[in-house]
Structures are given as structure tokens and as C-alpha cells.
């Protein structure tokens, strides 16, 4: 459960040639929001700033969970839903995310929505994860001489700290029909990558047009400058690969996709 590394640095740590101990790499893993969150850091991984930043990453995710979780009775979101907390008194993140949900629905032509379920009302959980992970990972960009990649349940953010060049992380895209095997590899050095599908959690994505849960196989991966929008677009493309792809190319050409 702790973020403390248990072993000395990975293979080829110091003695090797190459600039800035390039091979030094360390991983930290914690489970937050019901997801395994892996933080991988390369470069000057021994600095105290690394440890501080990593704990800030997990700390922010736990905070986001306490604000947005629909599984926690005492989250701000649930209190607002039950009318026990006014939106003004709630954490300002709620309003920030709500505005993003509105923008996401507009940007995807309605393929993404936070308002599909009339009985629960506004449900931003489809967007919160990408938003929170991106916000959390920003803590790492203040650390000098490192590059980093955060993987939260299959959604990734990569980047580099102060004065450091980003490194390329080779992301294996899982084969939706054969969990555990890799179908494609995507290089990611800066930005986000998200995959949507029904494989791992069963049907949890709802087609806003029919209000029905999508139970088909397959997955949609999107990567580009931010995880937030990669995540939104991955959902949209899983809902409708054809329409989604066209909307993506028209609206957000900086993003790339892979539908399996």
C-alpha cells in the first residue's frame, strides 16, 4: 500500500554510459479510486523531490475520490445529489468538472455526456478520472531532471520535469479479445492516452442516444496532448467508432485513435 520503493534502482542503474543515468527508473504503485495507479519515473529518481511529488500525486487522487466518488456516501457529489450540500458550498472542483462535462458533450457532438441517467442526474464520473489523473501528474512536472508516466487503470499521462527532455514510453494496447496480451504499441512521450471498452469492467459505458449500456466487445484508444480529452474521445469512439472518428478528426486533429 505504501508508495515506498522496496528494491534498489532497476537494472543498469548507474555505471552505464549515456547521459544522466538514463536507465534509472523507479515505479510507485498505489490503489486509489478502486484503480491501480502506477507512477513510473526515469532520470534522477533518487532526488527527494521525486518522493514528495509522487506522494502529492496519490494525495490529489485521494482528494478527488473524496469529492467525486459515487461509491462514498460522504463525497461532495453525493451530498449535493441528496440536497445536503449546496453547489456553492461544495468543493470548487465540482463546478470545474461540470463545466468540462458540458464542453465535452458539445465537442463530441453528444457522443459523450454526463447527463444520460435521469434518475441520478448529473454524473461526471466518466470524465473525472482523466481530469484528476492529469491534474495529479502535473505535480511531477515540477521535479527537475526526470521524465514520468502515470498509469491509472489503463489511462496514461506522460511528461517531463523541469529542464528535462521527455522520454518515449512504449504503451502496449491490450487486445480486448484476449486480456493480458498486447495488440499494438503506441509511443507516448508527452500527453495522454486513454482506452475505453467493456472488456475489464463489463458494460459501463452508456450510449447517450439510446440510454442503453454498450455491451459489445472491442475497445477504442485515443492519445494526444492531454489525457482529459483523450479520455473523453475514447469514450465517444467506443460509443460510435465511425461518427466519433469523424468528429475527432474535425474537432481535435491533434489526437490519434485506434479502434480494436
Amino acid at each position: 500500500m505504501s508508495a515506498a520503493p522496496v528494491a534498489p534502482p532497476g537494472p543498469g542503474a548507474t555505471a552505464d554510459q549515456g547521459p544522466l543515468r538514463e536507465l534509472s527508473r523507479r515505479a510507485f504503485v498505489e490503489h486509489v479510486m478502486g484503480l491501480p495507479v502506477s507512477v513510473h519515473v526515469r532520470g534522477d529518481v533518487e532526488g527527494p523531490e521525486v518522493r514528495t511529488a509522487v506522494s502529492q500525486v496519490f494525495g490529489l487522487l485521494r482528494r478527488a475520490d473524496s469529492v467525486f466518488s459515487t461509491w462514498r456516501h460522504d463525497s461532495d457529489l453525493m451530498k449535493v445529489r441528496r440536497g445536503e450540500l449546496s453547489t456553492e458550498a461544495a468543493h470548487p472542483w465540482l463546478a470545474e468538472v461540470e463545466a468540462l462535462c458540458v464542453a465535452a458533450a458539445a465537442r463530441t457532438g453528444g457522443l459523450f455526456t454526463a447527463d444520460y441517467a435521469p434518475e441520478t442526474g448529473h454524473d461526471p464520473t466518466g470524465l473525472v478520472k482523466g481530469w484528476a489523473v492529469e491534474k495529479a501528474a502535473a505535480h511531477l512536472s515540477h521535479v527537475p531532471r526526470i521524465s514520468f508516466c502515470v498509469n491509472a487503470g489503463g489511462d496514461l499521462v506522460a511528461g517531463a520535469g523541469q529542464g528535462a527532455a521527455p522520454t518515449t514510453w512504449h504503451v502496449g494496447i491490450e487486445d480486448p479479445e484476449h486480456p493480458g496480451s498486447v495488440r499494438a504499441t503506441v509511443p507516448l512521450s508527452r500527453g495522454g492516452l486513454a482506452t475505453s471498452g467493456a472488456a475489464a469492467r463489463g458494460a459501463h459505458i452508456v450510449d447517450p442516444r439510446t440510454a442503453m449500456a454498450l455491451d459489445r466487445p472491442g475497445s477504442a484508444s485515443v492519445w494526444g496532448p492531454t489525457l482529459l480529452w483523450s479520455d473523453v474521445w475514447a469514450t465517444a469512439l467506443f460509443v460510435d467508432p465511425e461518427l466519433g472518428r469523424r468528429a475527432l478528426e474535425k474537432t481535435d486533429p491533434a489526437y490519434r485513435c485506434l479502434v480494436l
Binding site: 520503493p5 522496496v6 528494491a7 532497476g10 537494472p11 543498469g12 542503474a13 555505471a15 552505464d16 536507465l23 527508473r25 523507479r26 515505479a27 510507485f28 504503485v29 490503489h31 478502486g34 484503480l35 491501480p36 502506477s38 513510473h40 508516466c149 498509469n151 487503470g153 489503463g154 489511462d155 496514461l156 514510453w169 512504449h170 504503451v171 502496449g172 494496447i173 491490450e174 487486445d175 480486448p176 484476449h178 486480456p179 493480458g180 496480451s181 498486447v182 495488440r183 504499441t185 503506441v186 507516448l188 492516452l193 486513454a194 482506452t195 475505453s196 471498452g197 467493456a198 472488456a199 475489464a200 469492467r201 459501463h204 475497445s219 484508444s221
Partner: protein
């Protein structure tokens, strides 16, 4: 008619993959029988009720035994996978890491990766569901793909895994957890 041809073709491909997998790996590692070994533990199927991720994440940079969490995979001897050459420096030594056993809809799957000079040099499936005819078809297809992908990625190196949202229960289908463990 068309379908049959397609089916026959894909079967052929599978066979070819199977064979190519065997030969390509055997030159490197002495553990080609690993997937088959899992026959025993999986057929017990007692683990099916155990709600996944049965193996506790034991940090096992094992260089000798492949035993670890899930039952009798130890019989696969393997582990170190020698990987030929292995010159001098400790940095170039191959180390293997076992992932957690993960429940998939096909049954329990567990993988093991070999890290050499900071790169994923090989992926072995050390536990696969192998219960009936259908499972065998699935695995004879999936296992070689997995291995050939990983070996093909040797130069590219898979650093992270993305897929439809993984939950903590099935900690990243094992592959990510194995990668994580290599760098903890």
C-alpha cells in the same frame, strides 16, 4: 465455403505462430514448455471461485524458482532464462518477475517477464486456463501472440499497458503489474 477457408487459414497461422514461437524462444530460453505446465493448476479450477488476484503481490525478483504465488507453476523450472551471452556486468543480467495471477473470463492467467538491461526481453505465460477444448483453442491463439509481441517489442520495449479500464481486482491483467514490479 469461404468461411471454411478462412478458418483453415487462421488455424494454419496459429500453428505457424505456435511453431515459430517455440523455435524462436528455445534459442533464448529453456522454458518453452511453460504454458503447458499450467495445465495442472488450472484444471483444478478451484481458483475460479477465488475471485481473482489470488496471488498476493509477493515481490519476487526470482532468478531461480518460478514458484511464487500461484500453485505449482514451479515445475516450469525456468526462471532465470539465461538468455545466452550474458557478459560481465551485473546490469546486463536477466531477471524475471512474476505478475499476479489474474482472473479473466477465460480463467486464471499469470505472466512472467524477463528484464535484461532495463528492457523486457521476454514474456512467459506461466499460468493459463486450459480446461476444455475451447480454452485450448483460445490459448493456442493467445499465448504465442503474447510472446511474439513481447519479443518483437524487445527493441521497442513495452513500458506501460493500456486497455479498457482495469480495476484493482484484476490489477492490470498482470502484465502491468509485472512491469511495475520490475521497477519497484
Amino acid at each position: 465455403m469461404r468461411r471454411i477457408t478462412l478458418w483453415a487459414l487462421s488455424t494454419l497461422t496459429t500453428l505457424v505462430l505456435l511453431f515459430s514461437y517455440h523455435t524462436s524462444t528455445s534459442s533464448k530460453a529453456s522454458t518453452i514448455a511453460a504454458p503447458v505446465v499450467a495445465q495442472a493448476p488450472a484444471s483444478g479450477s478451484g481458483s475460479a471461485s477465488g475471485d481473482g488476484s489470488s496471488a498476493t503481490p509477493s515481490p519476487t525478483p526470482s532468478t531461480g524458482s518460478a514458484s511464487s504465488g500461484s500453485s505449482s507453476s514451479g515445475s516450469s523450472s525456468s526462471g532465470s532464462s539465461s538468455s545466452g551471452s550474458s557478459p560481465s556486468g551485473s546490469s546486463s543480467k536477466a531477471t524475471t518477475y512474476d505478475g499476479d495471477a489474474v482472473s479473466t473470463r477465460y480463467g486464471d492467467v499469470q505472466v512472467q517477464i524477463t528484464v535484461k538491461s532495463g528492457k523486457v526481453a521476454a514474456v512467459q505465460v506461466i499460468q493459463v486456463p486450459w480446461n476444455d477444448q475451447r480454452d485450448q483453442e483460445i490459448n493456442s491463439y493467445a499465448v504465442p501472440i503474447l510472446n511474439s509481441e513481447a519479443v518483437a517489442a524487445q527493441s521497442a520495449n513495452i513500458d506501460m499497458v493500456s486497455g479498457a479500464t482495469f480495476t484493482s481486482d484484476g490489477y492490470i491483467q498482470s502484465l502491468q503489474s509485472a512491469i511495475d514490479r520490475a521497477h519497484l
